[in-house]
């Protein structure tokens, strides 16, 4: 009897040892595909937020990323009244320039961008393998995509959401993302229906985000705040080091 139990334990250990690393490796590939280590990336983001009451607002921003140093700068192009308003992220820290107070606010990168469901942290590539551990994995069909669904739990407090569920298509790109609070409440659902390949890496072409905390009921249906992000004209032009500094935010501000 003892030998049977020992054998079963041995089989379980062997199975888990072989099963998990494959998924961890897969997660690393998911991260690698959207991370630009050897170059800067810049692109134009058009962010349209539509409130449940039907009103909408549009923000156009230029984004500059240097993933090798975990830095990015986002500068607002439109609306014109906000032109030059900027965000600088260095590691987990975020700097905002306050043109009225002529100073900088130092805050966390979990903030909403221009009051939309898009978070400032969403401008970066992903690091699921480094920031989360796998709770469960299953296969699921998502429209035309055959997906592996990962249930992930954060191993660090620096992430925006402590629990996430991601749908990864066969080409190792995240197609759908659900963000949960610690208590398990669904906070946001994001769709990445299409990507664009730049050199050897990928950037989403469109992101659709549904905010589950902002909604209204229409009859027996629920309508959520929805943010659509279009990412255009990705560029790999090298940027100067001085771009990723607080001084640059102050310099380009127009107030």
């Amino acid at each position: 009897m003892k030998k049977i139990i020992a054998f079963l334990l041995f089989v379980c250990v062997i199975c888990s040892a072989f099963a998990d690393p494959d998924y961890v490796k897969m997660l690393k590939e998911v991260d690698d595909l959207v991370t630009f280590k050897g170059t800067d990336l810049s692109a134009e983001y058009t962010i349209v937020k539509r409130d449940p009451d039907g009103s909408s607002s549009t923000t156009v921003a230029a984004m500059f990323r240097r993933d090798s140093e975990d830095k990015f700068v986002v500068l607002v192009l439109q609306p014109v009244s906000d032109k030059g308003k900027g965000y600088l992220k260095q590691g987990n820290n975020l700097w905002l320039y306050d043109p009225i107070g002529k100073g900088f606010t130092f805050t966390s990168a979990k903030e909403r961008f221009q009051n939309s469901s898009f978070r400032v942290s969403d401008f970066t590539g992903s690091n699921y393998a480094g920031n989360y551990k796998i709770k469960s994995v299953k296969q699921e069909k998502l429209g035309k995509f055959n997906c592996t669904v990962f249930d992930l739990e954060a191993t660090t407090k620096s992430v925006s959401f402590p629990k996430v569920k991601i749908w990864v298509s066969e080409d190792n790109l995240v197609r759908k993302l659900e963000d949960y609070s610690l208590s398990g409440q669904l906070m946001r659902t994001s769709a990445f229906p299409s990507y664009q390949k730049v050199a050897t890496r990928w950037v989403p072409a469109k992101i659709i985000i549904q905010d589950h905390l902002v909604f209204r009921k229409v009859g027996d249906k629920v309508e959520y705040e929805r943010t659509t992000v279009d990412i255009k004209n990705p560029s790999l032009n090298k940027q100067p080091d001085s771009l990723y500094t607080k001084e640059y935010l102050e310099r380009v501000n127009t107030k």
Partner: protein, 410 residues
């Protein structure tokens, strides 16, 4: 006297009308919003995907594409260069009145005051190429509370030239504002407070540490003769350095003036659970060698429409009058999605048991129009905020004020 009476009657009448509107407005505003919602319901029901069909996005999505030639676009040009001079400005006119008591106890007949204030600014921003920028802001104002009923002389509020040397150093020369230190309510480490009244030369090296700044400030020292010559104390030299290590931002600064001596500061700042936590320490060394200390600790948290912050300040500049102060402030904007805002600011000297409190409420019933109500209250003899009465045409210990403000920018 007759004119004063008429003016008072006019503003009391205006205040009454505003007050009546204020009572009626929330209903009117809510009614308007309700109508919009109803109008949209039919439209939205047809074209908005709901939770159930969110996944339909993936039924027939656009194909992934390969970008053969990444765009040769430098987005920086859109911020650093402009073929045209950008001109902008704003205009504010504020009128209203109030009543208050100049002495405690507040049981006598209150003093009534009415007045108006106007301000206009115009700015120009020229960026002929990425290395250079010229910015200027002109300001004029008319303040009937200070006895002025004509516009002040149009004067430069800011005027400076920026030069970017090979993306390694930035130079700024002219009249401009700078803020150092972490405090919002108390600002012991803001060594650059005076730079708005002088002419400064600033050199910043953004890639050294996380930014190193050197400043030379020229401002005529109080009491020095205006004979066109440079006098002792007219020039101050200052430096500031920043470095972020992990989740903590460290900064250090110093200021030297031949008359006032030296000032040194060290600051730390971090973010815990979305809240900024910070501390400043300041050491002042006078020209005679006397050393005094100041310290500040505080927090700042910002939700979507709410700002909340508090600070503790130790002021040891006067040996026999060491003070401990606390401050708390909050600002609610667009309360519950309505055009209503409110806030308060409270500064208190623990040692002198004196302080200042201001509670305010505002509503923006129409575009460009804001109605503000405020209750400024000063207790004890210590004035902690020198700008406390700036917005109020009444120099009372306790006052009730109501203003209507029209503002527009372009």
């Amino acid at each position: 006297m007759q004119f004063e009476k008429k003016r008072l009657t006019f503003f009391v009448f205006l205040s009454l009308i505003l007050f009546c509107q204020l009572i009626c407005l929330p209903e009117a505003v809510l009614a308007a919003e309700f109508e919009i919602s109803r109008d949209n319901e039919d439209l939205e029901a047809e074209d908005t995907p709901y939770e159930d069909d969110f996944d339909s996005i993936f039924d027939d999505p656009a194909e992934d594409i390969v970008v053969e030639q990444p765009a040769d676009i430098d987005y920086r040009n859109q911020f650093e260069e402009s073929k045209k001079i950008v001109v902008s400005g704003d205009f504010v006119i504020r009128a209203g009145g109030g009543f208050g008591w100049t002495d405690e106890p507040f049981d006598g007949y209150p003093e009534k005051v009415a007045g108006a204030y106007s301000k206009a600014t115009i700015s120009f921003d020229a960026r002929p190429d990425p290395t250079i920028r010229i910015f200027g802001k002109l300001k004029t104002e008319m303040d009937s509370d200070n006895g002025s009923d004509v516009w002040s002389r149009l004067d430069f509020d800011e005027l400076y030239c920026d030069y970017n040397w090979l993306d390694k150093s930035f130079f700024r020369l002219g009249k401009f504002y700078m803020t150092w230190g972490q405090g919002r309510l108390f600002r012991p480490a803001n060594f650059m407070e005076d730079c708005e009244d002088g002419t400064s030369f600033r050199m910043t090296m953004p890639n050294v540490l996380d930014g190193v700044t050197l400043v030379s400030l020229y401002k005529r020292y109080p009491g020095s003769p205006n004979d066109g010559k440079l006098h002792k104390g007219d020039v101050s030299l200052a430096g500031h350095a920043d470095k972020t290590l992990g989740p903590i931002n460290f900064s250090a600064a110093m200021l030297y003036n031949q008359m006032d001596g030296q000032r040194y500061s060290g600051s730390v700042k971090t973010v815990i659970l979305g809240t900024d936590l910070f501390a400043d320490y300041v050491l002042n060394r006078s020209d005679e060698g006397d050393i005094t200390h100041e310290a500040l600790a505080g927090f700042y948290h910002e939700w979507e429409n709410i700002k909340f912050y508090g600070e503790y300040y130790y002021d040891g500049r006067i040996e026999d009058d060491v003070d401990h102060c606390v401050g708390l402030a909050t600002d609610f904007d667009n309360l519950f999605g309505s055009p209503v805002g409110m806030g308060f600011k409270w500064l208190h000297s623990v040692t002198d048991n004196a302080g200042q409190f201001i509670g305010g409420f505002s509503i923006s019933p129409w575009k460009h129009v804001k109605i503000r109500m405020a209750i400024p209250w000063q207790y004890g003899d210590k004035e902690l905020d020198k700008d406390f009465y700036e917005e109020f045409p009444i120099n009372s210990k306790l006052a009730f004020t109501l203003f209507v403000e029209l503002s527009a920018g372009f």
